[in-house]
């Protein structure tokens, strides 16, 4: 298991006039792992992520990404990381091929075959489509394509599966696992616990701007069981999501 910390967050605080969105948090992300920031809405996950992505300023704290101080050298960080925002838009009057070429230009790289990239994300039929005409899952997949366009080794995904149907979510999990197997470090936020359990090597649970617990999903579950916790009902070998997927199939809809 790789263990070199590639992201180091120390005493990060972000205050808006009255409220403290992020309250003196510290954590590290090891190279090559999938790290999950969990928490209810308003816990400060997105704010934390957007500060590391250099999109927001912090009130205080120190952050290094791949050994670079992000407040000193934001431009170096931007070209090393891949970012999928929780809500982002793309020019509505450009088709997917044009948008990919545009992002290649913005990341200052050359892409030879944008259609090939679309194919990787099962969007080859949508090459002439416009962003607004895509379904939720297609939008997320296209957004991932722009995230990976410059082949970054560190990826930030902010609630990548929120609002998707089970097929699209399962497909996105596969994509994330693939990115992970290519050796990339992934930081994601979610408020779906099964997603975190399935994907993440380690998670940090945030609430009201603070990190209240960090560890591997197994560790956290064992800790809870050790404290004498028992689930009140019998655990079945399948859940409703399994039923849904076995009835409707795992094939992606709206290709």
């Amino acid at each position: 298991m790789p263990s070199q910390p590639i992201i180091l967050v120390q005493n990060l605080t972000k205050k808006y006039q009255e409220t403290t969105a992020v309250d003196n948090i510290s954590f590290e992300v090891k190279s090559g792992e999938i790290f999950g920031l969990l928490g209810p809405n308003g816990a400060g996950k997105t704010t934390t992520l957007e500060i590391i992505e250099t999109l927001r300023e912090s009130t205080s704290g120190k952050i290094t990404v791949d050994g670079i101080d992000i407040f000193e050298h934001p431009w170096d960080v931007k070209s090393r990381i891949g970012v999928q925002l929780q809500s982002a838009g793309f020019y509505p009057d450009l088709n997917l091929i044009e948008l990919l070429k545009m992002f290649a230009g913005l990341y200052q790289i050359n892409i030879k075959n944008p259609a090939e990239i679309l194919k990787k994300f099962s969007l080859e039929d949508k090459r002439k489509s416009f962003w607004n005409k895509l379904s939720g899952g297609q939008k997320q997949r296209f957004s991932l394509a722009t995230t990976l366009i410059h082949n970054p080794k560190i990826i930030f995904l902010d609630e990548p599966t929120t609002g998707l149907d089970p097929q699209a979510r399962a497909n996105l999990w596969d994509e994330i696992s693939k990115m992970h197997s290519e050796g990339r470090t992934i930081v994601l936020t979610t408020h779906y616990m099964e997603e975190a359990e399935k994907l993440c090597d380690r998670v940090a649970i945030m609430d009201k701007g603070k990190i209240i617990k960090t560890g591997t999903p197994h560790q956290l579950i064992d800790d809870l069981l050790d404290s004498g916790f028992k689930k009140p009902q019998e655990v079945k070998q399948a859940d409703l999501e399994d039923v849904f997927l076995s009835l409707t199939g795992r094939n992606l809809r709206e290709r």
Binding site: L55, K78, Y91, G105
Partner: protein, 360 residues
């Protein structure tokens, strides 16, 4: 170790190229930027194509004889054929400028009926008819060499048509609306749809985005100017005083005008993050200038107390400058007051924009 920020040339060209491409696919841009000015030129280009024209009513039974023949051959006289009573009604209501009663039975009697209401047209009718009568009198009496000769000498002057006045104003209007409305709407839209936020996650600076957007507008404005000029020249015989130099000067002035007016677009874009508030503010900035600052009629025809104020409007500086180029044939050395005026407005606009503009 000091690191340099990444080169911004490729992102700049990328932003410029793709926002231009997106713009040209946008129906609103195409309509307001191109179709609208062309419609204006098309409609107003048809007005006033020739000089003064006079309509004279002559009843059908009077339409014979030498006097009628000479008058009907005059190009600027339009003959209206109706009955006597109808012609009198038309004259009273101002639809025709005069009635001619020709007693064709004897050539010696020509009578003109004119209206007191329109003295200018009436005197034109009188002078044309009396000219014809005098000429015929001389011919009939056989005087080939009258003691007093009246000779009109024509010097070759520029044939000034309404389009020559109107077209430069349309260039100014198209420029102002692209620079203000299009820029403000475009930026607010990109902010609101979070396109800008996504771009900020790439190694692209804010200044690069603004400059790239401006470059795209520059191309649009030059295309507008080219199309308006081309339509004027080829369809409506717009007069190019100094040929290609005039065209070149109009292009250079368009670039200067865009630079000045873009500041207002950025200012409006900064006022609000909502397209619905952008529209009235942008219109408030454009429409009054469009109406008074010399697009449709010369500023000199406004009441004299209003002129000094109107002449200080940004569009007035531009319109005065462009007409000095297209009508007077002046070069930029004669446009210093107008250029200074535009520069001062630009400074005010960019300072205000720096105060209001927000990226989020």
């Amino acid at each position: 170790m000091k690191r340099k920020s990444p080169s911004q040339i490729k992102p700049l060209l990328t932003i410029a190229y793709y926002s231009l491409r997106a713009q040209l696919r946008n129906k609103a841009t195409v309509f307001f930027g191109f179709a609208f000015p062309i419609m204006f030129i098309g409609v107003f280009g048809l007005f006033g194509s020739s000089g003064v024209s006079i309509s004279v009513g002559i009843s059908a039974e009077d339409q014979t004889g030498p006097v009628y023949q000479v008058i009907s051959s005059i190009e600027s006289v339009k003959i209206v054929t109706k009955t006597d009573n109808e012609l009198r009604e038309d004259l009273t209501s101002g639809q025709i400028d005069g009635i001619l009663l020709l007693d064709s039975a004897n050539n010696g009697q020509v009578q003109a009926v004119i209206s007191q209401a329109n003295q200018e047209k009436s005197s034109a009718v009188i002078s044309i008819i009396s000219g014809v009568v005098d000429k015929l009198n001389l011919e009939i009496t056989g005087i080939k060499d009258p003691p007093i000769k009246f000779d009109v000498q024509e010097i070759s002057g520029r044939d000034f048509k309404f389009i020559d006045f109107f077209l430069p104003g349309i260039i100014g209007f198209a420029l102002l609306s692209t620079a203000v409305t299009n820029t403000a709407f475009g930026l607010v839209f990109l902010k609101k749809t979070l396109v800008l936020k996504r771009i900020f996650a790439t190694p692209t600076k804010g200044a690069t985005i603004l400059l790239g957007q401006s470059l795209a507008r520059l191309v649009i404005v030059l295309a507008q100017t080219l199309i308006i000029l081309g339509m004027g020249i080829f369809v409506f015989d717009f007069n190019l005083v100094n040929g290609f130099t005039t065209v070149l000067n109009v292009f250079i002035l368009s670039v200067i005008g865009l630079l000045a007016f873009l500041g207002f677009g950025l200012f409006v874009a900064g006022l609000s993050n909502d397209e619905n508030t952008i529209a009235p503010v942008a219109q408030l900035m454009i429409l009054p200038q469009f109406l008074v600052a010399g697009t449709f009629f010369p500023i000199e025809s406004l009441p004299s107390w209003a002129q000094p104020v109107v002449n200080l409007l940004p569009l007035a500086f531009f319109n005065n400058a462009i007409r000095k180029i297209t009508i007077d044939g002046f070069g930029f050395e004669h446009l210093l007051p107008q250029l200074l005026g535009l520069a001062i407005w630009a400074a005010i606009a960019y300072l205000a924009a720096a105060k209001t503009f927000k990226w989020e």
